[in-house]
């Protein structure tokens, strides 16, 4: 089963890198782009029998290591074989 974890700075926290990227896009003429938020993306192969089990595990590793809950929030997506159907959940 595959889990995807998206980690970003919490919305309340200024993202200096995202701001710099926003400014660069404006310099390139993309004036309609606002508020770029940079984050991290993880793909995990998980040995689990149910989507629920894989989601619980992905949540746990995101909480413990992949995200720092003080400054970051994360979102977990799990599916088997990369199909669109699956489970999604977020935590901030």
């Amino acid at each position: 089963m595959k889990a995807r974890i998206f980690v970003t700075l919490k919305p309340s926290i200024l993202d200096p890198q995202g701001q710099t990227i926003t400014d660069a896009l404006h310099t390139l003429g993309y004036g309609t782009v606002q508020n770029v938020r940079q984050g991290k993306y993880f793909e995990l192969e998980v040995d689990a029998t149910t989507i629920q089990q894989a989601t619980t595990l992905a949540d746990e590793v995101a909480d413990k290591l992949l995200a720092n809950p003080v400054i970051e929030s994360y979102r977990v997506e799990v599916d088997d074989q990369g199909l669109a159907a699956g489970s999604q959940r977020s935590r901030s």
Binding site: I13, L14, D15, P16, K40, N68, V70, I71
Partner: protein, 237 residues
């Protein structure tokens, strides 16, 4: 007095700390590899600067799971003095031994320069020989030193007097232009509730001899020597 200097893969200020302890302050220093499962008979623990695990994932995020960190947590819980410098501070934050977290510097640049550091609290083992309001000139060298804690945590840090160092102007005035990395409340260093664990981004160990431009960092090491002497630990010499 024995200082344990913890060495993570990627630590690069471990030798600076060792040199300052051994050759400037004249106390015993020993490197302790991060995979060690005991701190020996250390009286004080130093988590040095550097780029543990290449700063992969987040600065300090992986080092905090090193086997030695369980012993450091026990040592801290028993009241032992622990100081985290730069990456060592980041490790203490990731380990939850100090509150808050680090963001990329506000100007998105690695900053390597001397800063002015105002001492806010002197009732920690690492500042007891300093004076409140004293301004220390000490170097920084970091990309992720932009301290963050949520407003409730900042209020608690203020109320409990846990903000130990702030970035200020040379005369000690609060001024955002001197808060070089954009830290919340200009915080450069904090201590835990029990005051025995201190973390700071600047490098006092690199400001211990006139030859390197400043001796202002010495007071941090001299303070803990005095603290240990009060606790009955014998000094070398």
């Amino acid at each position: 007095m024995k200082f344990a200097v913890v060495v993570f893969p990627g630590s690069n200020c471990d030798h600076d700390a060792y040199y300052a302890i051994k050759h400037v302050i004249g106390q015993e220093a020993a490197f302790v590899w991060h995979k060690a499962t005991d701190l020996g008979d250390a009286d004080v623990v130093v988590l040095p600067g550097g780029f543990s695990y290449g700063d992969y994932l987040r600065s300090g995020a992986i080092a905090r799971f090193s086997p030695i960190m369980a012993r450091v947590a026990e040592f801290a819980a028993a009241g032992g003095p622990v100081i985290g410098i730069c990456n060592g501070f980041q490790v203490l934050l990731e380990a939850g031994l100090l509150p808050g977290g680090m963001r990329r510097n506000g100007r998105v640049k690695f900053i390597c320069e001397h800063v002015c550091l105002r001492v806010e609290q002197v009732d920690t083992p690492f500042t007891r020989h300093a004076m409140v309001g004293q301004v220390l000139r000490v170097p920084i060298a970091h990309g992720d030193g932009n301290y963050y804690a949520d407003p409730d945590t900042i209020r608690a840090l203020e109320a409990n007097r846990q903000i130990v160092f702030r970035y200020t102007a040379p005369d000690g005035a609060r001024d955002d232009t001197w808060n070089v990395n954009g830290s919340t409340a200009a915080i450069a260093g904090i201590c835990n509730d029990a005051r025995n664990v201190v973390g700071l981004m600047p490098h006092p160990e690199r400001a211990c001899e006139a030859a390197v431009g400043s001796i202002d960092g010495r007071v941090i090491l001299e303070s803990v020597v005095a603290e240990l002497a009060d606790r009955g630990v014998a000094e070398v010499n």
